[in-house]
Symmetry: C2
Subunit: 349 residues, 2 copies
C-alpha cells in the first residue's frame, strides 16, 4: 500500500512532534463519563468511582507482529486496538479508554500515519472507548505501535485465569483458526504478487478468513451476554496465541488438567474448505493459529443448560484434576497430550 507512487506525501518533520499529535488528535471526542481529562496535559485523568480499573498493554513491531505488504495501515490500526480491548474483555470487564503511542521511521509520510490513525479512531468509535493519550516519535526502522487499554468492572465480575475447577466446562466463543488461515492466504498472495505483479487475485472464496485476519473483532458483547444468562465464568482468557496455549495457561494458573474434544472445536465452513485446499490439518490450525480474539472460559457444570443452545458458545471440553494432565481427545477417540504450539514473538530471532 505504501508503494502507491501517486499518493500525497507530507514529511513528518514538517509538522514536528507537537504538530503531529495535534493533527492526529484534533477530531477526537470524549464519550465515556469516566474520562475527566483526555489528551493535552501531562497525563489523562479518569474517575471510576466504585468500579475497579483494569489495565493491559501491548507492543506491536513491524516485521515481528505485522507485515505491511498485506496489512493495510487502516486495518493495522483497527486490529491493534482490538487486540488490546480483547485483553480487557478477557477479564470480564468493559473497555473504556486507550492510549496510543506510535514510533515510525521517516519512510512513513504523514498520509500513512493518518491512515493508521483512522483505523485506530474507527475502532475507538465502534467500541466506544476514548483515546486519552499517547506519544508520537520517530524510530530507526519500521513502525512500532504501543497501546494501553483501560477498562472498568465491578469487583464481583472480574474473572482471572486461575479460577477453573476440575469438572468445570471449557467454553469458547465464535469459531477458531480462521484468522491464522487468512494469514496463510495473504502470504500466498504476496508470493504470487512478487512473481507476477499484474496478477489480479480472486479472494472471494477466502473473504471470511481474510476478514478475520485483517479486521478481527473484540468480544465486548460477551460480558453482557453472560450476565443476562446469569453465568459467571470461573476463569477466562482471550485467544491471541492459539487455543492450545491459552487452554494450558488456564490449566497452569488454575492447577487443573483438561480434556479437549477435537470434534467440538468450532470451525467456519470456509476454514474447512481452505484447509483442504492447502492440505493443512484443521485441528492443528485451530490449536496453534492464534489471533482469533475469541474468548475462552470455564463455567460450573450446573450452568450447562444456560449456554448449551446459545450459538455464541461452543462447549469444547472439561477440566479435570491436575494430576490427570492436559489432553486432546481426537475424533478417533485417542487421548494425546495437549501441547502449547502458540506463536512466540522471540522464536525467530
Amino acid at each position: 500500500m505504501l508503494e502507491d507512487k501517486n499518493q500525497k506525501k507530507t514529511s513528518l518533520s514538517e509538522l514536528g512532534e507537537f504538530g503531529l499529535i495535534e493533527h492526529l488528535t484534533k477530531n477526537i471526542t470524549i464519550n465515556q463519563e469516566t474520562t475527566i481529562k483526555s489528551i493535552g496535559d501531562d497525563a489523562a485523568v479518569l474517575d471510576f468511582n466504585d468500579k475497579k480499573v483494569v489495565i493491559s498493554t501491548d507492543l506491536l513491531v513491524e516485521g515481528v507482529h505485522f507485515d505491511l505488504a498485506y496489512m493495510p495501515l487502516k486495518h493495522l490500526g483497527y486490529k491493534a486496538v482490538v487486540a488490546n480491548l480483547s485483553d480487557i474483555c478477557a477479564m470480564n470487564a468493559k473497555p473504556s479508554q486507550i492510549t496510543v503511542s506510535l514510533a515510525m521511521s521517516n519512510r512513513f509520510p504523514l498520509e500513512a500515519i493518518e491512515e493508521l490513525y483512522s483505523g485506530i479512531q474507527l475502532a475507538a468509535k465502534i467500541y466506544n472507548v476514548d483515546i486519552i493519550g499517547g506519544d508520537t516519535t520517530s524510530s530507526q526502522k519500521g513502525l512500532i505501535i504501543s497501546i494501553t487499554a483501560i477498562g472498568e468492572t465491578l469487583l464481583d465480575d472480574i474473572t482471572y485465569r486461575n479460577g477453573a475447577q476440575p469438572t468445570d466446562l471449557l467454553v469458547v466463543t465464535g469459531d477458531i483458526g480462521a484468522a491464522y488461515m487468512g494469514l496463510q492466504v495473504l502470504e500466498r498472495e504476496k508470493q504470487v504478487f512478487q512473481v507476477n505483479p499484474n496478477n489480479q487475485p480472486d479472494l472471494e472464496q477466502y473473504s471470511y478468513l481474510i476478514e478475520r485476519q485483517l479486521k478481527p473483532e473484540a468480544r465486548t458483547d460477551i460480558k453482557e451476554l453472560l450476565s443476562k444468562l446469569e453465568v459467571k465464568p470461573t476463569a477466562m482468557i482471550d485467544i491471541s496465541d492459539g487455543l492450545s496455549s491459552e487452554i494450558l495457561h488456564i490449566c497452569k494458573q488454575s492447577n487443573v488438567g483438561c480434556n479437549l474434544y477435537e470434534d467440538k472445536i468450532p470451525a467456519d465452513p470456509q476454514l474447512i474448505n481452505v484447509c483442504e485446499e492447502f492440505n493443512l490439518d484443521i485441528t492443528t490450525i485451530a490449536l496453534s493459529g492464534g489471533e482469533d480474539y475469541e474468548l475462552l472460559f470455564t463455567i460450573k457444570m450446573e450452568d450447562f443448560d444456560k449456554i448449551k443452545a446459545n450459538p455464541n458458545f461452543s462447549i469444547i471440553g472439561h477440566m479435570v484434576e491436575e494430576k490427570e494432565g492436559t489432553h486432546l481427545i481426537t475424533r478417533a477417540n485417542t487421548k494425546i497430550p495437549l501441547k502449547a504450539r502458540g506463536w512466540n514473538a522471540l522464536q525467530n530471532e
Copy 2:
C-alpha cells in the same frame, strides 16, 4: 557497555517470550494497596476507591531518545521510569503503578535485558510504585521501551496546564539545564573514546551534570511539600523538553502571557563552570536543554510568602495578560520574545 566481550550471553530465543517475562518479573513484589492483581493475567486490576486515576505513557526509541554508547542499560531503565513518574507528578498526583513493555533486537543477550530491567525495578522500588504488567517482544532494530505510569489523587488536588492566571507567579523546582550539559560532556567523552579507546576520562568535575543526565529523579516530593505549605498550584507541567517550551505550553493552554527573568533561572555552580569551559550560554542551555524532570508551576501572588524562602523553589517570573505576549527579561533588562527551542523527536528525520 554492550561491547564487553567477557560478559555472559544468553540468547533471548532460548527462553521464549513467556519464559523471558517470567524470568524478568519473578522477583517483583506488590506494595500498593490499590493493586489488586498484577502481572500474570490478561490485564492488571486496580482499585482507587474515591481517588481519581491519572495515566501517562511514553515511548523511548534507541538512537532517537538514548544512545547506549554512554547510557548504561541500568541507568536507562531507571530514567525511563523516572520520566513517566515525572508526568504523574506534573498533575500534582502520586504515582502508584507502571506497566513496562520492551522490544529488542537479537543483538541484546538476556544479561543486557536483565541489566535494563534491574534499573526499572530499582526505580520502582525507590519510588514505591508497582510494576503491574507489560509486554516483551523482539524488534527489527534496536531497543524500544514503552512505559505507562498510573497515579492517584483527590479531584481537588489535580493541577492542569490550563489554570494559570495573569499576575500568578511562575515557580520552578531545583535547578535547570544540568541534564542537557551532562549529555554534552558525555558526547564529548564518546568522541574522545572513539579517537583513543585507552584514554581514562576524569569526569569528577562533571559529576553532578552527568548524574542529572544518567540518573535524574522525579519530584514526587513536591506534592506533599506544597500541601504542607498550603499552596495549591494553579497550573503545572514537568520540564522534559526545556524550560521555554514548557512555559509556553502553560501560557498557550492557560491563555496568558509571561515575563521570565533571566537572572532568576536557577543554575547549579557546576553548570556555570562547565558552560564557561564549553563556551556555551547558560540561559540558552536552561531554556532549551530539557530532561531536568523538575516541576514548573504557577501560584497565586498571595502565596508568595509561603514559598519565597524555601530552597526547593525559585520564583522565575510571573504571568501577564495574553495580549502582552511571552517574554524573557534579560540580565541587561532587555525584553525579548520567548521562543520554544525544546527538543523535537521528529526533527532529525
